[in-house]
Structures are given as structure tokens and as C-alpha cells.
Symmetry: C2
Subunit: 199 residues, 2 copies
DNA sequence: CACTGTATAGAACGATCGTTCGTTAATGTC
DNA sequence: GACATTAACGAACGATCGTTCTATACAGTG
């Protein structure tokens, strides 16, 4: 890795955790330069525009998500076990990765859902991909016979996303110590209602 | 209503719908002055600080929410019917009120959950009050015997909030035409799982 | 009509924003 | 060691930010 790539990554590291706290749209070149002990222009040269920097942060987030949430879950056998692993990792990934202020993309979704442009499209792409990943994991649990054949997998993924969002809100805004437990209760109810009948 | 109060309300109207699109933290005195055909200083005098303006927008939002969502639901008989009315009104209130860019407070929750201060506290207070309102409506449905006595009413409200959030995301970010339907499916499942047994 | 307080305007402040430019320092190649 | 390339800097740009101050217009009251 050349020197340029190295500092670029260092900038992204800082931008990533900074954006976690103040949002992707709250990022500023000046503040970021100060935090990385660089000049504004020196930092700027690595990206060419602020929007490109913001996009880089969003892509960085996707990558870390895949490594922290999805990849470890592959160790579990496909089906309900893997689905559960994804959900558990997902709920906790903001702690595992350096995300003091919560998921960057999730926050960005609320920031940019009104403002057309490249950032909105990147967020949309990323979250749609996540929905698809969730739906695939649910579909596998149908194939293994753990969930019923008539399970609405998109509905399942939809509700999972809802559980995630409200859990984050509970943790971050309300400091609710029960948020994690409630999330699992909701997940279990979701699974139970779609579980194949065994007796 | 004096002249001052009148223009203050006009400013708030504009700020309200503007904040809906660009967020409460994205509000700027200059842009707002331009939109209301006022000078920056003239507008500024009505609030004394930007933060006070933002707080006023949040309070305005609470008030409109109560009028658009909660009050009409009081026409329904207490219990499940009223709860359902609240949920339906809630899911649609951004259309009824002038909220082209979605619920202001919900967006603000994501913006400020990391940054301590008066704004965060106002958001927190507002959303906690909503949770309590939801929980009360659920409790009434327990009293009427429509829901089981062992219903976890806070868990119920928790999951309702999740349904709301993911529905907004589906509508606003994904332009998902199924979001409303999925929300009601999720709600019905929530009710069914807590319904009292009738046979 | 004069008087009083409120409501708005205009100009300016220092700060920060994203961006551009020209130059220097560091790195890699022959 | 000379050269080419890349990386980083420092200064400045015009724009906008929230805020302050002073002055002018307006409203209501006697």
C-alpha cells in the first residue's frame, strides 16, 4: 500500500467514526483535517470534492458491515441459526466496529431520503442490498424446513429492519437498557409466527 | 393575535415544512428569511437564537402530531379500535400535515441522539411521551378484554415504533408501494399474538 | 396629533464552509 | 546523484453561517 493509500485510509477511519456522531452531512473538511493533523488542502486532494469523501465514507461503512456482521455469520449452518447470527451481529455491530454514534448509513438514510443525488442513491443501494441479504437468509430457513413454506420473506425482512431501527433508537436516544432484550423478544415472535409446525 | 405572533407563526409554518426536508439541524436563518421574504435580523428577533428556533419547530411538530394523530382517534371507542386508529393516523400523518419530507422529530432523533443539549432532550421527551401514549392505548385494549392480561404493553409500544420507522424508510427512501400494506400486516400480527382467546 | 413600544430592515462582525492555486517536501526510478 | 512523480502544505477565494448593533417604520394608546 503506497503512502497515498495509507493516509487516505487513515482519513477514512477518522471520517467514519466522526460521521457516526455528527452524520455524513455534518462532516466538514476543516474539522476532519484538524483531527487527522493535516491541512485542509492536503486532505481535500485525496477526494477531489466533499461529496466524494462522503461517498467514500458510505462505502467504507458497507465494507465494515459485511466484515463485522455477515462474514462471521457464515460460520453458522445455513438456516435459522445463521439468520439469528446475522440479527445478533447486526444489533451489536455498532459496538464491535468503531461506531460511537451508531450506524452511519442508517443515519444517512434519514438525512438524505429527501434530497436527490449520489449520496441518496448510495444509501438506497446499500440498504436495499441489506434487505436482500436478509431475505436470502430467511429463504434459506424456509428451505431447511425450519420456517413454513408460505413465509413472506420480504415481509420478514421488512419487520427485521423495523426491529433494528427501533432498537438503535432505544439504545441511543433513550438509553434504554431493555432495548436489546426487546429486540430479541420481537425477533423470536417473528420466528415463532413463521415456524413450521413440528407436532 | 398580535402582528408579532402572526409572523412568528408564519415563520414556524415555513420552518416546519423546510425542516421536514432538510432536517432540523439543516435549518438556516438565511434561507428561512429568504423564504419568508424577511431580513435575517428581522426573523432572528423572533427567536433570539437558532437553537430556540429549532426548539420551536420541534414543539410545533408535537402540537400538530397531537391534533392530526391523537385527537381524531379519540372518536373511536377505547380499546383496540382506538389503538388501530392511532396507528393508521400515525402512519399517514406526514401526508395529512404539511410534511413533504417526513416526520421532523423522527429525523431529529437520528440527528441529535449523539449530541447532548436542549434539542436532544426535547426530542427525547417528545418520543418518550409518544411511547407512553401508545402504551396507554394498548393498556386500554387489555382492560376491554380484547388483548390478553399478560400482554407486555411496553414491548407492544416498542414494536409499534419499529413498524412506524421501517415504514417511513420504505416509503421515503425505497419508494416502496407495499410499505403501508406491510405495516398493517405487521400490526395485525402484533395484535393477533396478544389477542385474548375467544373460543 | 404626539408618544411609546414593538416589529422589521440594513449593514457589518468574526467564523467557518468547500474549493482553487502555486509551491515545497517527500518518494520512487533510472 | 539527477530526475519525475506523488503527497502535503499555506494562503487566499467567495459564500454562507449565526449574531449584534443601530436605525427606521409601524402599531396601538392617550
Amino acid at each position: 500500500m503506497g503512502k497515498g493509500e495509507e493516509t487516505r485510509q487513515a482519513i477514512l477511519d477518522e471520517a467514519f467514526s466522526l460521521a457516526s456522531c455528527i452524520g455524513v452531512s455534518g462532516l466538514s473538511i476543516g474539522v476532519l483535517a484538524e483531527r487527522t493533523h493535516m491541512s485542509k488542502s492536503g486532505l481535500f486532494a485525496h477526494f477531489g470534492s466533499k461529496e466524494e469523501l462522503q461517498l467514500a465514507v458510505l462505502r467504507e461503512s458497507q465494507q465494515r458491515f459485511a466484515e463485522a456482521v455477515l462474514r462471521p455469520a457464515l460460520r453458522e449452518p445455513r438456516g435459522l441459526a445463521r439468520l439469528r447470527a446475522i440479527v445478533v451481529n447486526w444489533l451489536n455491530w455498532t459496538r464491535a466496529v468503531n461506531l460511537p454514534g451508531g450506524c452511519v448509513i442508517n443515519a444517512a438514510a434519514a438525512e438524505f431520503d429527501d434530497q436527490p443525488g449520489a449520496l441518496r442513491e448510495e444509501v438506497k443501494k446499500s440498504l436495499l442490498a441489506l434487505r436482500r441479504t436478509l431475505a436470502d437468509a430467511v429463504a434459506k430457513a424456509v428451505e431447511t424446513g425450519e420456517l413454513r413454506r408460505d413465509t413472506d420473506i420480504d415481509q420478514f425482512a421488512f419487520e427485521l429492519a423495523g426491529i433494528y431501527q427501533v432498537t438503535q433508537q432505544g439504545r441511543r436516544l433513550f438509553n434504554d437498557p431493555d432495548a436489546d432484550r426487546r429486540a430479541l423478544v420481537a425477533f423470536d415472535r417473528l420466528v415463532r409466527d413463521n415456524a413450521a409446525i413440528h407436532e
